[in-house]
Amino acid sequence: MTSLPEPRGAKKLGLVIDLDTCVGCHACVVNCKEWNTGGYGAALSDQDPYGADVSGAWLNRIHTFEVVPEGGEVIGEAGEARVVHFPKSCLHCEDAPCVTVCPTGASYKRAEDGIVLVDEDKCIGCGLCAWACAYGAREMDLAAGVMKKCTLCVDRIYNETFAEEDRVPACVRTCPANARHFGDLGDPASEVSKLVAERGGFDLMPEQDNRPVNKYLPPRPRKPLSDAAPLPQAAGTDGATGFFGWLDRALDRF
């Protein structure tokens, strides 16, 4: 069994994921695999990649749910239900059961910044950590026989050969909706901590006592489309001058 680090540094690097703005485009999923298949440790392999039963190792996956708000009705009937896209990756828990369950010391949590990593040279591929993880965030690479997990792009965030804006995890850098944020959640004055406080960020499954570092921001309440104000109607084009007058006359000719 493997111990969690003592004493801990104050730094707790992690992600804040906004379930309100995530559109489920999978850009983070793809860029994560692209970056991490050629970086930290063994490649993220795919089995039967061109066949009917494709599978492979990914460090980040999006699950999509249809949820019905309180008092709402299902989508086909009232249009009040909404789809929530839930990106799921390692939450770098403070009490990470995947670390304490590891029989070889391959899984470890770094004292200095809280990142949970796998030393693939020590990993025997027993899969106990995948069983222990409450979030299903670890995946076995079948080609290499070692456990793969989110590294928080440890090979990007401290990489001084990168421009400052690129020193964030690949998923955060690529998110076109800016739904993913990276920072120090151990510092109450950091941008991510303020965001969590402001938006009511929450832990996934807190009853599991894993104390995840990553936080999720809840979807904001929304009014049904039918409650929206009607669009303003265009006034007549009589008496239009200038460009619009010319356009109106030109369009009349067609």
Partner: protein
């Protein structure tokens, strides 16, 4: 910018649709004539079936392994 030959006033018009600006070749002249078909009535070029069609596909992909540590 392609311009048509000068008009009587010496001005040259753009070789594009005067309203939309859509590029076009209004001075293009073409001749169409029937040609002999290719042998076997096949369009050309013809290619061998790809590896995807022949089922010669890998059972496993390890894209990126070549940049990592060798095992």
């Amino acid at each position: 910018m392609n311009l048509l030959p000068p008009k009587g006033d010496g001005m040259r018009w753009s070789n594009s649709d005067p309203v939309t600006g859509q590029a076009a070749w209004f001075d293009l002249r073409v001749r169409i004539e029937k040609a002999d078909g290719p042998p076997g009535d096949l369009a050309h070029p013809q290619f061998e079936p790809t590896w995807y069609r022949t089922g010669d596909v890998p059972e496993e992909l390890r894209y990126g392994q070549e940049w990592g540590k060798t095992e």
